[in-house]
Symmetry: C2
Subunit: 206 residues, 2 copies
């Protein structure tokens, strides 16, 4: 048995969430090390790429949330065995990376500059990606993004859109997903009702 | 047999290169559609995310270069079967994404602003990533990034560093890889001497 410690911010969402859920569904014990933004400032320079999440496995530190998600997703039965279904899963995950990177570029801006950048983000890549993902979902059968089953793509996408819908990003209206891609709202509900996902959050709340 | 058309810029490098090589090694026929930057301007709005590469498979258009690389990499025997080796392959690829995104943020800047941003890029994420990748290569046995064999991680990394070394990015000195991570220069040579890779470029030059 490996000793596993996952370090990320203290939020139910963001880049470590899929890995946490996958670890939990795989039944793999791990330390869910949650740090504050203040603690992150002090620890940043000790992380390999000055960023989180990081995962320590038997004392070795690794980076890259989606590599972690894919690895533990395989352990949890949340990654397609079939190569083409794997492609559909991967493509959907990378589309979220594109959106997330574009959102990242607006961080740190203020005032009118922030407003302009965020409005461009919403009307541009966010809306485009929501519509593309909605079409991908439809083409894959309407319920899941790949292999007609819950995969890490579903967790990554619903997790990201849940955060978008929380209203924590100025000028990104909370109803953007409902307006541009109502199928993805239904998808979010489907994912959160999955017994394995629901059980993870139930344990979290205890 | 599927009809496959890969659209990207007319350069031997960049985000489509690993997919091109993987397709070639897998022996899969495809149309290597290369466009100029001018043509891209006119076509941009017709691409799903206004970006390239895109791949059309039997008339359906897909995005995300690394999803393509992983899919055709599997077909070509360039992706590890083992989940942990797959993690090492994925982590290395995502590290390059981080670097590439950071470089992307400096595009469009000019003058002193460009100089400052590029110097920060070089002394920051680029140097850090080169050293991390160098350590990963050592830990994996020194020759390849995963599974002791050529994988798409090797192609992605050597391809990216080859472009970095071409001197096409102002303020990014061509000797940065040699200075920060000489092992990665040796790795680049190893990859380019791989008979399958060499054969791809030999066919290209005919």
């Amino acid at each position: 048995m490996s000793t596993i410690k996952l370090t990320y911010f203290d939020m139910d969402g963001g880049r470590a969430e899929t890995t946490r859920i996958a670890l939990s569904i795989a039944g793999i014990e791990f330390e869910d090390h949650r740090i504050t933004f203040e603690e992150f400032g002090g620890l940043k320079s000790t992380f390999p790429l000055s960023s989180v999440p990081i995962i320590e496995i038997d004392g070795h530190t690794y980076t890259q949330s989606n590599a972690m998600s894919r690895y533990f997703g395989k352990k949890a039965g949340l990654y397609p065995e079939d190569a083409w279904q794997g492609f559909l899963c991967d493509e959907a995950m990378y589309i979220i990376d594109d959106v997330s990177n574009a959102l990242g570029k607006t961080m740190g801006l203020t005032g009118d500059e922030l407003k302009t950048a965020r409005e461009k983000f919403v009307s541009g890549i966010l809306t485009t990606a929501l519509k593309l993902l909605s079409n991908r979902l439809k083409a894959a059968g309407g319920e899941y993004f790949a292999a007609n089953q819950l995969t890490i793509a579903d967790l990554v996408i619903s997790g990201f859109l849940k955060v978008i819908g929380r209203g924590m990003f100025d000028h990104v209206h909370t109803d953007i997903v409902e307006k541009s891609a109502p199928l993805l709202v239904k998808h979010m509900e489907r994912v959160s009702k999955d017994p394995r996902v629901a059980s993870y959050y139930q344990k979290r709340s205890q």
